[in-house]
Amino acid sequence: MINSDLQALITTLQMAGLTTIILLIIGTPLAWYLAKMTSRFKVVIEAIVALPLVLPPTVLGFYLLIAFSPEHLPGQLWQQATGQQLAFSFSAIVIGSVLYSLPFVVQPLQKAFEQLGDSLLEAGALLGAGPIDRFFSIVFPLTKASFITAASLGFAHTVGEFGVILMIGGNIPGETRVLSIALFDHVEAFDYARAHVLSISLLIGSMLLLAAIYWLNLPKRNLKNKVMRKNSMEHHAND
């Protein structure tokens, strides 16, 4: 049934899309805060953010499963607020993905903000721009490439997620059954033909996405270099 695979693809895209949006909303201020932070606790927060890079996904999934269960406070609060159980729901896998993909969004943004420094922001402030204005008129345009990288990495990493979802989402079609889980199902059922179709699609999709990131980031830089080279040549000619 190709239909169930299509459903898994839709669930995957929904989960990854929503996760990426949430990650950008949470990750941007967090990355900003970390970039500007000078306190000793900076390394502690950085370590927590980077934890999903080294932690086995099943460990994160296990603790989330416990936290999301109706017996524990986060799960209870969720149930009181929404009337639904959190574990084994679409919301659960989105929350899990946000935590799991956090470093992929925060780290490139933090690095970009650190590199940008304060000098242009000071210049902007002295021209009358407030903090929000400065972010959208100076920071964002100058770090756009890093935002594209961060969003793409967050999205791609979420699409490829398996362990966390298996632990907290289970395998509910239309709710938590994503592509990676569907693939695992096919292999377990010895349906290698469908496993091949899914694998090759994921492989090509990921390749295309990465190629798109590099394409979005690279050409402009080349163009600018060309212009600068042309200009410096003209300057030399004038000299």
Binding site: S119, L120, E122, A123, G124, A125, L126, L127, G128, A129, G130, D133, S137, I138, P141, L142, K224, V227, M228, N231, H235
Partner: protein
């Protein structure tokens, strides 16, 4: 319902009151000074004298200060009342040493960044573009510009935010001599046309001497001297520490004529005495000229030199003699103007010079220095 005035009159602040102390790397910066905001006020000092920190404090970029800063009748910072306006609320402009232009915008984009955020706009964008000679560069990316062009954009951008006070932090230090001179002239022109008071920080007295009305001298986080630029420079001469400045006579004299036949310009020192210097086309548009003569460029003669190639010789009276580490500093009065001359102790003894003695000062036309061409 009260009627709102149609347009608020743009009232320029007349005074900047500073009474601050800031903990600084090796020493504390302690400044208590009222600065009248007229023309361009120079702030001079060597690196790490605290002059840039002072500018940053006025701009609101240096937050940890004790005391107060008051621009006109508005407090920018007052630590006792826990008041510290953000830079964007101060109405103070700052041109940095490195232009700090926005690379993602064109030249025009950078200028419009300022105009869009300016409340109560009164300046005409095109007028400022013309003043700063940017009309041909508007569509360029800022990364394509030379250092001098970038600083012109930075100056125009700061002006277009229509600040009440413009701060300039070593704006010329990264430029070559020719661009320096051009930008300096432009700053003076902008100041005179727009009546925008400026505080200009530099470690180059030559630059400051050409454009400033008043001068504030800082050393190790404290004010050494403040007042009329010529007076302050002359006061610094007698401090036996030629580390601070090159001892010199700083002058602002009316132009009397252009003797174009022999390429010299005549400045009128007083009713009887003139000073000659090398002619420059740029002088023709001026009536007054700022210039300086280094104390080491003037020599003393007891009789009027009549067979010398040196064109300037002025009769004066020795008013004061200061023996310094390596030489003797003479203060020689010609009419109402004091000239500062350094000679070796050997020469002083040989000519047996003494106060109240009449002597001739000699210096070449080329020793009368100007910076703006």
């Amino acid at each position: 319902m009260t009627k709102l005035p149609i347009s608020k009159t743009h009232q320029a602040a007349t005074q900047l009151d500073i009474d601050v102390s800031i903990s600084f790397q090796q020493f504390d910066l302690t400044i208590k000074q009222a600065i009248p905001l007229k023309g361009i006020t120079g702030i001079f000092g060597h690196s790490a004298s605290g002059k840039s920190t002072l500018l940053r404090a006025i701009a609101g970029l240096e937050k940890s200060l004790a005391g107060h800063i008051k621009l006109g009748d508005k407090y920018l910072a007052h630590s006792k009342e826990n008041l510290c306006l953000k830079p964007e609320e101060r109405n103070v402009g700052l041109v940095f040493q490195n232009s700090r232009l926005f690379n993602h915008l064109t030249v025009l984009g950078n200028l419009e960044y300022a105009t869009k955020r300016c409340q109560n706009r009164q300046l005409n964008l095109n007028e400022v573009i013309e003043l700063t000679e940017l009309s041909e560069l508007l569509a360029h990316q800022v990364s394509e510009l030379s250092g001098g062009q970038q600083q012109r954009v930075a100056l125009a951008r700061a002006i277009l935010a229509e600040p009440k006070l413009l701060l300039l932090d070593e704006p010329l230090s990264a430029l070559d001599r020719q661009s320096k001179s051009a930008l300096l002239k432009m700053m003076l022109n902008v100041q005179q046309k727009l009546k925008l008071p400026m505080l200009y920080v530099s470690h180059s007295l030559d630059e400051l001497q050409q454009v400033c009305d008043n001068l504030l001298v800082m050393s190790k986080g404290e004010v050494v001297s403040f007042g009329n630029i010529h007076k302050v420079i002359h006061k610094l001469n007698s401090i036996d520490d030629s580390e601070i400045i090159h001892q010199q006579t700083s002058l602002s004299l009316p132009i009397k004529g252009f003797n174009n036949g022999h390429d010299l310009t005549t400045l009128s020192l007083n009713a009887e005495q003139d000073i000659y210097l090398i002619c420059d086309q740029a002088f023709q548009h001026q009536t007054q000229l700022r210039c300086f003569i280094l104390a080491s460029d003037i020599s003393i003669s007891l009789t009027e030199p009549s067979d010398s190639s040196i064109v300037n010789h002025l009769l004066g009276t020795i008013r004061q003699m200061n023996h310094q580490k390596h030489n003797v500093l003479l203060t020689v009065n010609c009419g109402s103007q004091d000239f500062y001359v350094t000679i070796s102790a050997f020469s002083q003894k040989r000519l047996s010079l003494s106060p109240r003695q009449q002597v001739y000062l000699q210096f070449k036309a080329g020793a009368v220095r100007t910076f703006i061409h």
